[in-house]
Symmetry: C2
Subunit: 128 residues, 2 copies
DNA sequence: CAGTATCCCCCCGGATACTG
DNA sequence: CAGTATCCGGGGGGATACTG
């Protein structure tokens, strides 16, 4: 599996119309690019985290959305949930091997965004 | 040491909390991961396209959302809009250099999603 | 052809309260 | 601590009609 083919769309089978509607890829894309999906995956890419740590790490996320996002990503097999049957409960979240593969593609993207965000939001003219 | 540092978040400057809320990176992330942002950028990564071509290429997008998405991406300096003053009008959309840099990070992601979507939506158990 | 304008609904997602 | 339950408002986003 060569990396060079990663940039050849033809090799991925969505030559004609980017992606057909109602196909699995669209579903996964929606999950990943959901409002908090990327940030959860990025957060877990560094280390496994507990619920409360995730909540504090991803600034601004609500409990509802954290739970919802984690459930979706877990159902997709991207995030692993490990609950200790202790009192008080302790639950650790981490990436599955599949999730790690995905995160490896997300990190360069996020890195680029972090690097260029200031220029982008400022606008081409004003940045100049 | 080439790609490996891409996996070190510290190198990108969002060590502490993934990304601060209300920061430029969040804004750009929201634009890119908007419902149609990724698909528009991917579509334009192969070739510049006219309005109607984009509409047909990105299956399922409405005129309203195509216009909205294009305006956002153009304002961000990621997409270039070139209108010919002819009748009937002809407008070409393409990626700016900045947009191309971004697309180069999006393509591996989309490729991976296309490759693994079937397994993901099927679920780990059933896929097994 | 390349878009606006308009109507309108769904549901995403936030806030708050509560529980094992 | 790690969530669920419930309420609720705004706006994301679809469908249709219209225009230069």
């Amino acid at each position: 599996m060569d990396v060079s083919m990663m940039h050849n769309l033809t090799g991925f089978g969505f030559t004609a119309g980017v992606l057909p509607a109602n196909c699995p890829s669209r579903t996964v894309l929606d999950h990943v690019t959901s409002k908090w999906g990327v940030l959860v995956l990025i957060a877990l890419s560094q280390q496994s985290l507990r619920w409360g740590e995730l909540r504090r790490t991803i600034e601004g996320i609500s409990e509802k959305m954290l739970a919802s996002t984690l459930r979706t990503l877990e159902a997709d097999g991207l995030v692993l949930r490990e609950a200790q049957p202790t009192i008080p409960p302790r639950v650790d979240y981490s990436l599955t091997p599949l999730g790690r593969e995905l995160a490896d593609r997300l990190l360069p993207l996020m890195g680029w965004i972090a690097d260029n965000a200031d220029e982008i939001v400022a606008g081409p003219q004003r940045a100049q």
